[in-house]
Symmetry: C2
Subunit: 380 residues, 2 copies
């Protein structure tokens, strides 16, 4: 049995105290105790989303919440822009097409960020476009799309902006109300340090208005149904009670870590240290612009299959990082900085990658990455 370390971009490690908070005996999901917990969860989520909007909670993976942002806003035949700069961007198109909507695909080369002007041009050319779907952090490439600028571009049009922040929320600042984001989606298993199983959707006034005329079919993921019941602090269907207990504990964990803004700084520091190690190895980031602080995507050296780096860490050290997906498979490996990952977890990851790279025949100065990262941490 090896000591396992999770450094993949989700699920991320859960604080042991939170695991134990979730191991409390079950309480009934319609009891007054649980309604009180549900109310505290709703309030806490508003703080994390930095919004006064309602934030709905679903029992599903993040994809369920993404689906809800299609079916509750659009009607069959409606047009929407899917910003596709990676695997998760492509999911928007699949979702739109599954529900008979017209996806206007705005393809962005993997590793690059969407240009807000390109979105503006599409919206201007066709005022019937009803929504723009985008990832805050495209987990498959490590790129952060320019969400604040996209909100400015959509603001005065008839289109709503829907932001998948599953891997971004809690990793860096996405202030929903300050930026005027119509819909923001997140999940429990990334920067929020919980197991998978809860998905969240913040819904602003423009989206609420659009919801009223949406004709796509929905039931389990119906916003109207959940807005009605969750305003009374209960889910329309049976809530996954332990994850609610876990989320209450995470609110405390966030406070004890110095609050959200402090967590953003620490995540950025881990990212800076890791990226310094990458430079010290003479390797390149896969993210050619807007490299996210939530995770780092690294191009493997020429002649080395990135999956071998991932496998080396898993098999020799029980350290889990992620490889590339689809067109990036074999070319890159990805390491998370979001969530319950310390600077020493980060150094451990750097150390293991160095040993893997050396073992796989890459020539560089062993220890250079660790030294570069320690320098950043030491100076902070």
């Amino acid at each position: 049995m090896k000591k396992v370390s999770l450094l993949a971009p989700g699920p991320t490690p859960v604080p042991p105290r939170t695991l134990l908070a979730m191991a409390q005996p079950l309480i009934h999901h319609r009891s007054s105790d649980f309604l009180e917990i549900f109310g505290r969860v709703r309030e806490g989520l508003k703080k994390i989303f930095k919004t006064n909007n309602d934030v709905l909670v679903f029992c599903s993976s993040g994809t369920g919440a993404m689906e809800s942002a299609v079916t509750n806003l659009l009607s069959p035949g409606d047009k929407a822009i899917a910003i596709r700069g990676g695997k998760f961007g492509e999911r928007w198109t699949e979702l739109l097409e599954a529900y008979g909507c017209q996806a206007i695909n705005l393809d962005v080369p993997w590793g690059y960020a969407v240009k807000p002007d390109d979105v503006a041009a599409l919206l201007k050319a066709d005022p019937s476009i009803k929504a723009v779907y985008v990832q805050a952090l495209e987990t498959s490439t490590g790129v952060s799309h320019p969400i604040k600028e996209l909100a400015q571009v959509t603001k005065d049009t008839g289109a709503v902006l829907v932001v998948d922040a599953v891997s971004a929320l809690g990793a860096y600042d996405i202030p929903t109300d300050e930026w005027g984001l119509d819909v923001v989606i997140s999940g429990s298993q990334k920067a929020l340090m919980l197991p998978p199983g809860l998905a969240f959707v913040s819904i602003g006034p423009k989206a609420l208005e659009m919801m009223k005329t949406s004709k796509c079919p929905k039931f389990y993921f119906s916003w109207a149904k959940e807005l009605k019941t969750q305003s009374q602090n209960k889910g329309a269907f049976t809530s996954p009670v332990p994850l609610f207990l876990g989320l209450l504990d995470i609110f405390e964990v966030i406070d004890e870590m110095g609050g959200l803004d402090n967590i953003f700084e620490e995540t950025a520091l881990k990212s800076k240290a890791f990226k310094a190690a990458v430079a010290a190895w003479g390797l390149e980031l896969y993210s050619k612009e807007n490299a996210s602080t939530g995770l780092t995507a690294v191009e493997a050296p020429a002649g080395i299959d990135a999956q071998d780096v991932v496998g080396w860490l898993k098999n020799k050290y029980a350290i889990f990082i992620a490889g590339g997906q689809a067109q990036a498979k074999g070319k890159i490996f990805r390491v998370a900085h979001m969530g319950f990952i310390s600077e020493f977890d980060t150094l451990q990851g750097i150390s293991a990658i160095e040993m893997a790279l050396a073992g796989l025949g890459y020539k560089f100065e062993m220890g250079a990455g660790v030294a570069a990262a320690q320098k950043i941490f030491g100076e902070a």
Copy 2:
């Protein structure tokens, strides 16, 4: 702080060892360790469903799996029978209508079971009917519908039988293959003794065939997508890892409890003892036929609001039983026998109800219910 006891028909108590099994550090949902766990979960579920069919796992409440049994079988405009003998039966109609299908409502008075001949007559009158939707145990009334007989009625027609066994599976015998059940749905939080968050769907050959022509839109709950990935022991989307660990532990718990068939006997014994107490109080069951062994629905005495009984137990003793829903609200209270509930938990419930009934002014011999139940347990 009071010692809480859950006697409501879900969520039921979770064995403490299982809560701790779920509190293990997270592992990655795409790791080989998790694929191996997923494979064991798939095999274990087949034993519980008593089937060789694939049993899909979804991260959702049971309602999500119910939705999947509409959207993956039917196309808009298709006709289907919704057997409605309680609140959960009504959900079929809501689901069918949400997806543009035609619900043929077969209304059964609450407290009674559907007559298979009535279903046969409807199917004969209209061979275009594509599905029959029913609850095994209608949780809102305590009635078990005659599933074996319904399967005989649908077998030689073009219609599939879809059985919601969320509160039945694991409480009493529902042998999927022996009875030839096309689709069986269940959830984690009832007789399977886990927290809410997992839903299951067993899919037989006739349903798989119908799935191929289904045109209702779906994405998160797509059977085709999940059949493809789960055959490789992984979910299409992020799996709720701790519940999988919990389910593996529950498989062991079931073995240590003497196996499924022994659990069915013990559940029936608790039901028999509880129903003997109800008779000793001079009260009536709400289930006028096919009273289930999974739970008991009791009519409150004339002049006493059943919600006051529920409230008395909750407020004075921290014991959670359930009241009636919709038309049965205030008239009945419901007590579970399924899941991790011992004979002494059952006696505690009986004792508390006796004290509540007495406190609310009902005249009967105090202790008669406990004595009647003890007699049953003692003789067993």
